[in-house]
Amino acid sequence: MKEFFAILKNELIKTIRRPRSYIGFAVISFICLMLQGAFYQDGRELLTTVTAQFDNIFNVQGNILNGNLICFIVLQTLIVQMPLLVAFVTGDQISGETASGSIRFLLTTPASRTKIVVAKWLSGLVYTLLLLLVLGIFALFVSRAIFGVGDLMAMNSEGLTIIRADDINWRWGYAFLIAFLSLSVVASLSTMLSCIMDNSITPIVTVMATIIIFTIIGMFDMKSFDVIKPFLFTTHMISWRSLFEDPLPVHDILTSCAILFLHVVIFLGVAIFYFKRKDITN
C-alpha cells in the first residue's frame, strides 16, 4: 500500500503542476461569474417574462431570483461543458505519457501496471472533485452571497416544483454527489480510452463524441432508441435534477446511481485489463 500511495502522490503532484489542469478551474469560474453578472443585470426582467405565464394560476412573491436558482441554472448549463473539462485532463493521463515517452519512466518502477492505472484514475477523480468544489463555491456560495437565499423554482419534466429554502441544502449536497458520480463515469471512460490510445487528443475527442451521440439518442422519443436509453450513462448523468422534484423519486435516483457506478467499474476494469497487456513500443 505504501508503494501505491507513493505513486498516487506522484500522480497528484503531476496533475497539480500541469498547466492544463488550471484551464478547467478558469473556465468554470469564468462561466459562473459571467452568468451571475448577466443575471444581476437582466435576471429580474427575464424572470418576470417567465413567471408571467403563471400569473393567472398563482401569485409569485418573494425573492425568486436567488442564489439557489442561479446555481440550478449554472449546473444545467455546465452539464455539457464539465465532461469536456474532465476529459481534457483525465483523457491525457496515460495516452499523453505514452506519446511523450515518459510512460517508460513510470513502468520501469517496481509498481505494477494495475497500481499505476488505479493511481492515475484516482488522481483524475480528485481533480474532478476539485472541479466540482470550485463549481460549488462559485455557483452556490458566491451566488447566494450576491443574490441571497430563497425558495427554488425548479422547472423539470414534471413541471414547476418549488423547493423551500430550509429544505434545500441536503438536496444540493446529494446533487453534487450525483454530479461527481456522473463525472466519475466520464473520468473512467477517459482513463480507459487513454489506456487504449497512444496520443493525447483522440481519447478527449472520443469521450466528447460519445457524450454527444448518447445525448442525441436520449433527446428523441423513438422506439429503437428507447431500448438502449436506460443503458446509456448520459441518460443518468442528469439524475441530479431529480433531487429537486417533489415527491423525491428515490428509486429512480438509486437506479441511476447504480448504473453510473456500474459504468465506472466496467470502464476501470477494461482499462486495467487492457493496460496490463499493452506493449509499450514508443
Binding site: 503542476r17 515517452g101 515518459s102 519512466f105 513502468l107 520501469t108 517496481p110 509498481a111 506493449d279 509499450i280
Partner: protein, 302 residues
C-alpha cells in the same frame, strides 16, 4: 559468476512481423556486456522485453535467476535503465523529476544525495531548471541519474551516447567503467556503433533482424589474428608478381586493379609493407578490419 540476465529462445512478433527471433544470450553478474546491432535489428525491442515494457510472444527471460513475468516488482528494484531517449516531465524541474522517481522506489533522498547524484552525471547547477529547457544531451545525463538513483545492481543503457558531445561520451565511458569496477554494477550496453562497445565491454552479442549473429568475448571476436587487409598500390602488375613470390602469396583473397585483399594477422602488415618498399613498390592506401568489423560494416550500411 551468477547470471544477471538470461534470455532463452525469446521471440517477439508484432502481427506478421518478427522483431526478435529465438534470441538467447546470458549476461553474467559483474560484466559490461555489449548489445550490438544495426538500427532496426531488434535491440530496443529486446531491451524493452527485459524491462517488462513489452511481453515476449514466446521464450523465457530470467533476471538474477528469477522469472521476470513472476517477479517483476522485485526485479525492477534492482534495475536502472535508459531505454532509447529518456523522456521526463518537461513542466517539472530536473530535481522534481528525480523526486518522483525516488518516491516511486520508496526512497527518501537528502539534499546532499541529490547534489551528489547531479554532480555525478554533470548536471550540478541545472537541477532546478525545468526539463523542457534541457538539450538532448542534458536529458541523456538526467536519464542516467534516473537510472542510478536507486543504486541498482544492473544498469541497462540503450544507446546512451546519443546526443552527447565528445566530452559527454568520454565522461559516460569513464562513469560506466567506474560503476563496474568500483561498485560492481552489471551493465548491459546497447549500441549500433562497434567501436563504442569495443572500448568498454568485455563480452558482447551482435544481433541482426532479430537473430543472434555472433556472441562471445570482445577480445576474441575482435581479435587481430584474422584481419581483412586492403592494400591499394601504385603499380599493380609488378606488385602482383612480387607478392605472388613472397610468403604472403597464400594470403591473397582477391585482386581488383590496384586493390589487393588479404587475410592475415595484424603483425604481418608492417612486415609486408617493408618488403614492398624494399622492392621500391609504392603503397597508396592500406586499411584493415577484422571479420566482425567487416560484417558489421556491411549490415549497418545495408
Amino acid at each position: 559468476m551468477s547470471s544477471a540476465i538470461l534470455l532463452e529462445n525469446v521471440t517477439k512478433n508484432f502481427n506478421d512481423f518478427t522483431a526478435v527471433n529465438e534470441l538467447s544470450f546470458e549476461v553474467k553478474a559483474g560484466d559490461i556486456y555489449g548489445f550490438l546491432g544495426p538500427n532496426g535489428s531488434g535491440k530496443s525491442t529486446t531491451l524493452r522485453m527485459i524491462m517488462a515494457l513489452i511481453k515476449p510472444t514466446s521464450g523465457s527471460i530470467r533476471l538474477f535467476g528469477q522469472s521476470l513475468q513472476e517477479n517483476r516488482s522485485e526485479i525492477m528494484r534492482k534495475i536502472g535503465c535508459i531505454i532509447e531517449k529518456p523522456d521526463f516531465y518537461g513542466y517539472l524541474s530536473a530535481k522534481e523529476n528525480m523526486k518522483l522517481f525516488a518516491r516511486a522506489h520508496l526512497l527518501t533522498y537528502t539534499t546532499k544525495q541529490y547534489d551528489d547524484l547531479f554532480s555525478l552525471v554533470g548536471l550540478k547547477g541545472r537541477e532546478l531548471d525545468k526539463v523542457k529547457t534541457f538539450s538532448h544531451g542534458m536529458k541523456q545525463r538526467l536519464g542516467l541519474a534516473q537510472a542510478l538513483i536507486h543504486d541498482p545492481e544492473l544498469i541497462i543503457l540503450d544507446e546512451p551516447n546519443t546526443g552527447l558531445d565528445p566530452q559527454g561520451i568520454i565522461d559516460l565511458r569513464n562513469l560506466i567503467m567506474t560503476l563496474n569496477k568500483e561498485r560492481g554494477k552489471t551493465i548491459l550496453f546497447s549500441s549500433h556503433i562497434l567501436s563504442e562497445v569495443q572500448e568498454i565491454c568485455s563480452n558482447m552479442v551482435v544481433i541482426n533482424k532479430g537473430k543472434v549473429v555472433v556472441q562471445g568475448g570482445v577480445s576474441d571476436l575482435l581479435s587481430h589474428e584474422n584481419l581483412t587487409v586492403k592494400l591499394e598500390v601504385v603499380n599493380p602488375l609488378t606488385t602482383a608478381v612480387v607478392l605472388r613470390q613472397s610468403k604472403w602469396a597464400g594470403m591473397i583473397e582477391s585482386q581488383e586493379e590496384k586493390l589487393f585483399v588479404f587475410k592475415m594477422g595484424k603483425t604481418e602488415i608492417p612486415e609486408m609493407v617493408d618488403y614492398l618498399s624494399q622492392h621500391q613498390l609504392g603503397i597508396e592506401r592500406i586499411d584493415y578490419r577484422n571479420q566482425l568489423e567487416d560484417y558489421f560494416l556491411k549490415i549497418t550500411n545495408a
